[in-house]
């Protein structure tokens, strides 16, 4: 496909990797915030291509991975009502909640749960089923928030009274700030982060401007990068050069899609429908103030939280699961006793195993087992 295959050229990838090698002056640890980058790094074996001095730390930018067990339980509780048709994006259905229960298991018990590709599909279901209440579970970062906002706006314009949103949209800059402020990252010398690979499509909406703060306040270089392998390698080269030159600025590798300001229309729409929620609990990162979106008063009818009381009971996940530390970048999938057995993508015990964008899912999908990883020439850890 045009504008994809050009950025997957193996020969150019090798040249970029060689160029990076020549620039190496120290050890570097870079965090890729976004699960899309994690996926690309594993899928194209970029860690094997990179010199061993470069360590990629996989960040928390996988929207299903950061949902706490409590939210999964709330979602499952919502599906208990037979008049409800619950809609969500596919990955969410397999995220384990309390005692390993999932939306998929709830569906096998008879709950009406539908996997949708778009918020607009959920809206169509509302139009076609006036006797049912349609709940769309809005999840994701700034990339998916405009889609949920648009569905709410259209439902309001059409005066649809059977469409509701269970809103769990989260914000990238708040999470990055939390990671940079996290005591285990600040105190553990070996885990310092030298720079940040900025998200691709989140940035297509918010622009590069919000990252200026991190470059200035934490003196870390940020390079916004596309999701293709050459994009990632070029961005890593840009990060290495910044570190070598002791610079810490925001640079944009993904200029074909991202600019400084982002998509104004999408941002305005999100601002019209949503406001900042005071607190949101992230799996692994804990409660981060003003890090998520809630539906504004003018559109409160569409907020399911105004129609149903959700259980705020704290739910604990599997006690050996290391997803929390993995999301903070302080442990890897290989540090977890559950990895590969019994925790697999078919039977995920923690959220990072659910999707190939989650750190554990990516490790498992591309390397399968600890033995496989041990046999590889470069230490992936």
């Amino acid at each position: 496909m045009k504008y994809i295959k050009e950025f997957r050229d193996g020969k150019k990838a090798q040249i970029l990797a060689d160029k990076i090698k020549k620039e190496i002056k120290q050890n570097y640890a870079f965090m890729e915030f976004c699960g899309g980058h994690t996926h690309a790094i594993f899928r194209y074996g970029l860690q094997d291509l990179l010199p061993p001095e470069i360590k990629m730390i996989h960040g928390p930018g996988c929207p299903v991975c950061i949902l706490p067990e409590k939210v999964i339980k709330q979602a499952i509780d919502l599906t208990m009502d037979p008049n409800i048709l619950f809609c969500s994006y596919g990955d969410l259905l397999r995220v384990p909640g309390p005692k390993g229960d999932t939306l998929l298991k709830a569906r096998s018990r008879g709950a009406n749960i539908s996997m949708v590709y778009s918020s607009l599909d959920a809206l169509s279901l509302a139009r076609k089923n006036p006797d049912k209440k349609i709940i769309f579970m809005g999840i994701g970062f700034e990339t998916t928030a405009p889609a949920t906002a648009m569905a709410i706006k259209m439902a309001s314009d059409e005066k649809l009274n059977n469409f509701f949103v269970f809103c769990n949209h989260v914000l990238t800059p708040s999470a990055i700030q939390n990671i940079f402020n996290s005591p285990d990252l600040r105190d553990m010398k070996e885990l310092k982060i030298d720079g940040l690979l900025g998200p691709s499509h989140v940035s297509s909406i918010i622009g590069t401007k919000p990252y200026d703060y991190f470059a200035e306040e934490f003196e870390k270089p940020v390079v916004v990068a596309g999701f293709e392998p050459l994009d990632v390698l070029q961005a890593i080269l840009m990060l290495v050069k910044q570190v070598n030159e002791k610079r810490a600025v925001v640079e944009n590798q993904y200029t074909r899609v991202v600019d400084v300001e982002g998509n104004k229309k999408a941002k305005d729409l999100v601002a019209e429908i949503f406001e900042l929620e005071r607190n949101f609990e992230w799996r692994g990162l804990g409660i981060i103030p003003y890090s998520s979106l809630k539906i504004k008063k003018a559109y409160e009818y569409f907020d399911i939280k105004n129609h149903v009381t959700l259980s705020e009971e704290n739910v604990l996940g599997h006690k050996a699961c290391q997803c929390g530390a993995i999301l903070r970048g302080t442990k890897t999938a290989l540090d977890c006793k559950l990895f590969g057995n019994p925790c697999t993508p078919e039977n995920p015990l923690g959220p990072c195993m659910v999707s190939a964008e989650g750190a554990c899912g990516a490790y498992y999908h591309w390397y399968k087992s600890k033995d496989d990883i041990a046999q590889r020439p470069i230490d992936l850890r």
């Binding site: 496909m1 060689d18 297509s204 074909r256 998509n263």
Partner: protein, 73 residues
């Protein structure tokens, strides 16, 4: 989750929708977030929406920079 892909706008439809071509597969998407696109433009699509226009000149520029790395190599 945020994996969005480039697609070419084949045909504009009414009500801020368009048909795009994704590697041979035709798909109807919303172009409400990118109001200034025209047929033939490339857009980045995600969960049924065009998120942004893909700037073809910038794409070529990025590829050129990569080529130059090759030359100085």
């Amino acid at each position: 989750m945020c994996l969005a892909i480039p697609a070419k706008i084949e045909k504009m439809l009414s009500g801020e929708f368009a048909i795009v071509d994704v590697g041979g597969i035709k798909k109807e998407i919303s172009i409400a977030l990118v109001p200034d696109v025209v047929e033939g433009d490339y857009v980045i699509i995600h969960v049924g929406f065009a998120l942004n226009k893909l700037d073809e000149a910038e794409a070529l520029k990025t590829l050129e920079i990569m080529e130059q790395i090759n030359e100085i190599h």
